[in-house]
């Protein structure tokens, strides 16, 4: 039987990719952020997950406003990153796991979600960069199979935090009922508080970020008290990317404990965070 070993939650700022490319991990500006990954690296080496289910948001690589899905689930044999407009590409391709993708799609449609099913799908920096950070030592190919799940954080109306959490729960039910014996890690990328546009560009909210991090493991439903617009106001217009965290956390349906947390300001315009949560099957008393 499959197990959901845990969840990795992290920012996905494009500049991180450039810092990696330039070898700046030990640079004083970047070190405090990259240092937050050591526990994740140790944990991944110990757990060796076979499958990565990654909740992220597309920034205009695979989706445009002609067909903008609320929830999109990849069901391809494999995925590539491509040029998003800045001439950066060349990330290693990601092997897919279409049989698990379809199992998830069957479950979520059964549970009255309305996904867009994607048998071809490019994945952008919001997936590529967290993967580079989590598995920095893989030379040839990735040691996992990928199911990418994109949540709309671009076009209002966004799905509510509650809807995203329930969507994640449904994905989690699919993972639990998957008959394979794979070990699965989930990931939620984006955030924390930041805002790129408008007169409020540069907005950061330590208090709200701390509230989210404090509750992510022990009481994620606390994060559902706000609407997506509330979060835009609290955490900035790109702070709503925490919807990906909320969905990923929803997919962890066992007993969840926080293994590590790193929170550092600033990375680019962003309050950057990395958290590692472990998931154990709930043991009945």
């Amino acid at each position: 039987m499959s197990t959901i070993a845990g969840g990795i939650f992290t920012s996905h700022v494009p500049g991180i990719g450039q810092a990696i490319a330039k070898g700046l991990k030990q640079d004083p500006y970047w070190k405090p952020f990259f240092d937050g990954w050591h526990t994740v690296h140790d944990w991944l080496k110990r757990e060796k997950p076979d499958v990565l289910v990654c909740f992220y948001n597309d920034h205009g690589l695979n989706f445009f406003l002609d067909k903008l899905p609320t929830f999109a689930i990849g069901a391809a044999d494999g995925y590539r990153h491509e040029d998003e407009g800045w001439g950066i590409s060349g990330y290693k391709p990601y092997p897919g796991m279409p049989e698990l993708s379809w199992h998830i799609i069957e479950q979520v449609v059964h549970d009255e979600f309305d996904p867009t099913m994607c048998q071809k799908m490019l994945v952008d920096h919001a997936l590529a960069i967290p993967v580079e950070m989590a598995w920095p030592d893989e030379e040839e190919s990735w040691p996992f199979k990928l199911v990418p799940i994109a949540i709309n954080t671009v076009q209002y109306p966004l799905p509510s935090p509650k809807r995203c959490f329930e969507f994640g729960r449904s994905v989690g039910r699919a993972l639990e009922s998957w008959p394979g014996d794979e070990k699965i890690v989930v990931m939620g990328t984006g955030g924390l508080s930041h805002q790129l546009e408008g007169e409020r560009a540069g907005h950061i909210n330590i208090e709200y970020d701390t509230f989210c991090m404090d509750n992510l493991s022990r009481d994620p439903e606390a994060l559902l008290q706000h609407s997506s617009l509330d979060i835009a106001e609290l955490a900035g217009s790109q702070g709503v990317e925490i919807l990906n965290w909320i969905a990923a956390r929803g997919a962890m349906r066992g007993s969840v404990t926080e293994l590590s947390r790193n929170y550092h300001i600033p990375i680019s315009n962003t309050a950057a965070a990395t958290m590692l949560l472990e998931n154990h099957e709930t043991v009945l008393a």
């Binding site: 500049g15 920034h59 205009g60 690589l61 445009f64 406003l65 491509e82 040029d83 998003e84 407009g85 800045w86 001439g87 671009v154 076009q155 209002y156 109306p157 805002q195 790129l196 546009e197 408008g198 007169e199 409020r200 560009a201 540069g202 907005h203 950061i204 330590i206 701390t210 991090m213 404090d214 617009l229 835009a232 106001e233 900035g236 217009s237 790109q238 947390r261 929170y263 550092h264 300001i265 600033p266 680019s268 315009n269 309050a271």
Partner: protein, 134 residues
């Protein structure tokens, strides 16, 4: 910084200094966003760089869109329905980073904008020293 915050319609929630990209904005901005989406391809980026006017015409940009782009007026682009996720691709062509963009929009210098971000970092350090946050 050019232009001022111009909330798109009445009866909607307004978050000061923030552009909620809803249906109204998406309608106003479709052409400029579609043009920016095309910048995923290098050939299109070069075509824009070579002849901005011709390229904007090809995507049927409105006069408001064109004016904002000619003037590198980010707030103007937002008011005309530009979405930052797509505008970021244009910013790349113009060799503007997110902090240059931030400075342009907030009417500060880039150094001031960066300093404001670092100040948040300093505040966080202080809170962490006080043990108020992990």
């Amino acid at each position: 910084m050019n232009g001022t915050f111009d909330p798109p319609a009445t009866g909607k929630r307004v978050i000061p200094g923030t552009y909620v990209f809803d249906g109204d904005a998406a309608r106003r901005g479709f052409a400029i966003n579609e043009m920016c989406f095309s910048f995923n391809e290098d050939a299109n980026r070069r075509a824009f760089a070579e002849d901005e006017e011709a390229y904007m015409e090809r995507f049927h940009l409105s006069e408001e869109h064109k004016k904002a782009i000619r003037e590198r007026d980010v707030i103007g682009m937002l008011n005309a329905g530009g979405n930052i996720y797509y505008l970021a691709k244009l910013a790349g062509i113009l060799k503007l980073g997110v902090q240059d963009i931030g400075a342009l929009q907030t009417g500060t210098t880039v150094d001031e904008f960066k300093a404001a971000l670092l100040a948040h970092g300093a505040k966080l350090k202080e809170l962490q020293t006080q043990g108020e946050t992990a």
